[in-house]
Symmetry: C2
């Protein structure tokens, strides 16, 4: 079974290359520009403070089951990381929605390079807000 997917927009960000993205990107401003044919789907989005952006690791050419995370020693199973070299190279970033202008969403906290293809936008809801979490090897 193969699944075909088509981008609905692109991310605008200050980062030209993956190597430019800092470890703390929480204050990085950017935009999601939704293609006109999908813009009507943005109706009602202004009421949400946070969004999940699903985007493509479009520079990933192959995957590894064991990867070496950035800033860390040793290798980890890819599903225990957010590393780009995944079997399905889809990223999720939870961003803050600052403003909508037509088909453009002004966002804060983005870690994608400029012109990254976007697959989906979802509202971040109470169900996504988990407390008392354990973050395994990331503690170290």
């Amino acid at each position: 079974m193969e699944v075909q997917r088509k981008p609905i927009g692109i991310i605008r960000s200050p980062y030209k290359n993956a190597g430019d993205i800092p470890r703390d990107y929480g204050s990085t401003l950017g935009e999601v520009v939704v293609f006109e044919e999908y813009a009507q789907g943005l109706q009602d989005i202004e009421g949400f403070s946070h969004l999940m952006i699903l985007w493509l690791f479009h520079q990933t050419e192959k995957y590894s089951l064991l990867v070496k995370p950035l800033y860390c020693e040793g290798v980890r199973g890819v599903f225990a990381t957010r590393h780009p070299n995944r079997p399905n190279p889809i990223a999720i970033t939870v961003v803050e929605l600052l403003e909508r202008k037509g088909n453009t969403l002004k966002i804060r906290g983005i870690d994608a390079v400029d012109k990254t293809p976007v697959l989906d936008i979802k509202p971040y809801t109470l169900r996504d807000q988990k407390t008392n979490i354990k973050t395994g090897w990331l503690r170290h």
Copy 2:
């Protein structure tokens, strides 16, 4: 640009049809069974209490930009909802990881039907944990 994707496993759940899924599925037990060829990628996952499961709305045949959410009156822009009829019919559920047994993850809080194809598994981290959120039309 078309993007091709291949499932890495399936969800086992008590729900045979979408109509069987209750509004509050927070305590629903299920499993993610990862195909053997990807099982090595689960290394180190046991340390995380919560995971993002990316799965396919595989029963979705077409999308709408305006949709009527379940349990709600009126229509909303699809990107302001988690409705299945999306341009790229990918779902995200943040679940609790109870136990790993080989290539099977025992999970709690799943809202997918049995045998749903899984695209990706990601650790839920501090960056996904947002506070002071506003949830727009969902408040009502």
